[in-house]
Symmetry: D2
């Protein structure tokens, strides 16, 4: 029986595995961290960034209407999936390039930078033409060829944590992007699989990882409370909690369903979409707490 | 192969398994929940309650000095373990009844009600003589004879969640106490075991369970950020997060070590103990945010 | 942020935490391990031991009939719960002392030693009067006062692994029994809680722990395939697998339901109970493979 | 709070999510299941198939020597990674196309069909030219564009389970391949992430999933005991256990290191590689147990 487990990757190995991104290899980041810019939006400095929008782009009208509502609520960026990784090939897979155009158009009309998922290495170029930031989803966190291509694209990247990823595996994935010369990386915690998941929440939101990320790397990290909880009534509280542990932003799924007469029930993850009104409360919370932040700013 | 897993307990069974504590059996708690009183301290109404103190009672002097510091910082109750459930029988097991007396004395001198763990069914009476509230630790959550005895004691009970307990198992444990006619129960989330635990945190703090508890029962629920993170630098942020998801209080391990010249390194869990100064910041955070709470009060 | 997680217990600490039971402190067990005897039954040498019987003792008739069937099938010991730890206080809690008498009587009539769970420290004496071996259930694995009492009883103890217990926590629990001078301990793996549990199995059977137990201690370890799978159709295959990884025995829930006209559906865990006929197949499998065992006997 | 968790996928949904592969949609497979052929090798009928070879192709000499040893030991197929998904971009990434040629050559010289991982959708064609079977690794289980391409390739596919995949997510991934008209799919369990992983094993081998796979689909399923345990001393026992629960084969990492004077320590996962001699014992175990299999053949 081995005393040390084969293949085990521990924090002690981080500076060797991730020399580019490990905080302890970078005394210049002894204070604070890297600021990642997407248009006028800045992650890692100032108020936490709020990315909001539908789970999936379903139509030009839906995108524009949701974009207007989230913009009015104070969101900084717009999200919407044109390529959806679904458990079954028989479920809606997204509108593809047409969806990218609808997202781009909604972003242009509202002045919001847009982020969308790319899950096919062959589509990095086309998605890069329409999006301001490329999202790597949880299921793609260890799709290394894809990480290399988004690294080469030079575009800002939103790297979601895999559902079972250790901190080392997550930062190792980011290192693949950085290794191509692209440091414009924002990490995103979105919940992990645990024995507790599926009884009352979809995943288990792991907020302990946020201060750990700050300790190990200089990259900004945000939280996706929509997937991490899976239920709309929990999203507002989880968002507030994420901000309190030091998240540099939030990515939240929003639908006009229930607030706009013509809005329809979302085709994906309808149960976790919040209304624009709830989004507005979350953003006001962020704006009103600025002062307190300084109290613990030394802890990051 | 079974279609439905043997022995599976889901939320749908809660009102049958826990008829006394299930919210949906109690229209009188359609709004808000039960208020549990420990002396002048009230859980479930008003500001969140802060319970603070050392992991273990180590000496009369240590207890009194920590009690004075946490009282000065604004804590509402005092904690300290006299009976410690340790992984090895060769490790410090607590001072026993002598420790109870030291805890009681420190509470009396500072005017703070005291809570301490009881883990032996034969000691419920003696612990009840010295403590204002009885703590059932995670390892004892399913010690049903013990739950019955603390139920019969009539004392307020702090019931910590087991490290692998489902919500149904946790509320089922509370139902054993309630079934003896004792509804003075406060639940406490303290982190669960997951694949992520032990890389950067001791356990995984499961804040998703807080709104789920509010949805399923009328009992107040608090959070123990000390065990849930296992590292002092994470405790302040985890505490703020717990308050934001709706926790009715916090139980935090505090040591004067590092702030008082004569204070010694704690004998148990030293790495997760915060200083009285950090405790003070957490309590000021709670006092300063009262207003915001109302904004989401309808969500509980 | 700590580099080393507070409170973390790793295998490297085992010889310190469990000096009595750690294999590396005992050169006399360089080969093989301790043999634990219960009457004529011997764990840790020869063929794996098969403990079989109903989940709960429900009546004298049920106990005797099941005892006769499992005896006829070739079982070595009889199991049956008189005190049942149930998720809800409103569910059947077992027949108590009356159940112990029925179990004892069934054992005497069939010549099978009996094992039954004790979960109340105040009942160790009475359970010891009726049982040949005391079972500590998963929910009681860290009930330290109970472990001390079963240690003092001098009775052989069957210590089930907690649903979230690490190997160190499990062996630490055994060390509490050993620390009272009682080395007659048999460990029992019964499945752990994971993200996979509850979709197609009740728990996740962790067979990787069996060789790890052999590497770290000299105590025999058996497997409970009934709880570990939660579904009868999986029990036979899981039993065979457990034997192949080196388990020194099996504890299996058996019901006459479906094979005896008057037999009733079990009151607890009915879906995981196998028939006496299936038990017979499992026992024949054990008897027929003896030869192969030697091939890998050097690996224990 | 939702009563039913958003996005939850349960077994009850399988026939809808995976209509092509769900057993209950296919009465023609009421008995047994699909046979997948790779050259002369047949998965799903007859003796379990043994795939063996190094973790990574390191040199032509290493490949040929290991191939000769595993062939001599009785293996049915040869494995070896030319493209390695590594946690860090700074670690060895595999020899690429040169490695494919070395693997192909070693297979041709020994008459063993070869399987190797493809992790880049752009390389499916080239890998298909050299390999007899395409392996989709755990990290790529939800790389849907890749699954579509291997589906279109018409090549037999070995689909490993993701480290946190539910049975539905795993079969949903297989459905993407089947949806392209390619039913030549063999599933492979390789261990999941749990709280127990990393203390004494690399992952937790989930053998409960094998009978569940048989119940839900007609595809054959094998086990990778090397990754599932992470430690060579556990591989032989885990292999025997996998066969007992009904696995249609094994994929095992083998190295000549320690048995051949010129063999070197493997560059990846050295601690889990077994010797050709141990592989020989595992294969003899499979050959010697044929008879017993029939006893439970009705259970598949």
């Amino acid at each position: 029986m081995e005393r040390n487990i084969a293949g085990r990757v521990g924090l002690e190995d981080l500076s060797r595995l991730c020399p580019i991104l490990s905080r302890r290899n970078h005394p210049e980041f002894a204070e604070g961290g890297l600021v990642v810019e997407v248009g006028m939006v800045r992650f890692g400095v100032g108020l936490p960034v709020v990315i909001a929008g539908p789970c999936a782009v379903e139509s030009a009208q839906q995108m524009i209407e949701v974009a207007r509502r989230v913009k009015a609520a104070g969101a900084d960026m717009l999200r919407g999936g044109a390529f959806k990784p679904r458990t079954s090939p028989h479920d809606f897979q997204g509108l593809g390039v047409e969806g990218l155009k609808m997202l781009r158009d909604a972003g242009d009309r509202t002045g919001l930078p847009v982020v969308t998922e790319v899950l096919d290495v062959r589509l990095v170029d086309v998605v890069s033409r329409y999006a301001d930031m490329l999202q790597i989803g949880s299921r793609s966190m260890q799709n290394y060829p894809l990480l290399v291509e988004v690294g080469r694209s030079g575009k800002p990247v939103l790297l979601k944590r895999g559902m079972a990823a250790s901190l080392c595996e997550w930062l190792g994935a980011a290192e693949y992007i950085a290794n191509e010369g692209n440091l414009n990386i924002v990490l995103c915690e979105r919940g992990i699989k645990t024995h507790a998941a599926n009884e009352y929440s979809r995943y288990s939101l792991d907020l302990n990882v946020i201060p750990a990320v700050h300790a190990e790397t200089f990259l900004p990290v945000i939280v996706d409370p929509s997937h991490a909880t899976g239920t709309a009534p929990s999203v507002e509280r989880a968002s507030r909690a994420a901000i309190e542990v030091g998240a540099s932003g939030l990515m939240i799924e929003v639908s006009n369903w229930g607030e706009e007469p013509e809005a329809q029930r979302p085709m994906c993850d309808a149960d976790q979409a919040i209304t624009p009104s709830t989004l507005g409360r979350i953003i006001r919370f962020i704006q009103n707490r600025e002062a307190e932040t300084e109290a613990v700013s030394d802890m990051a």
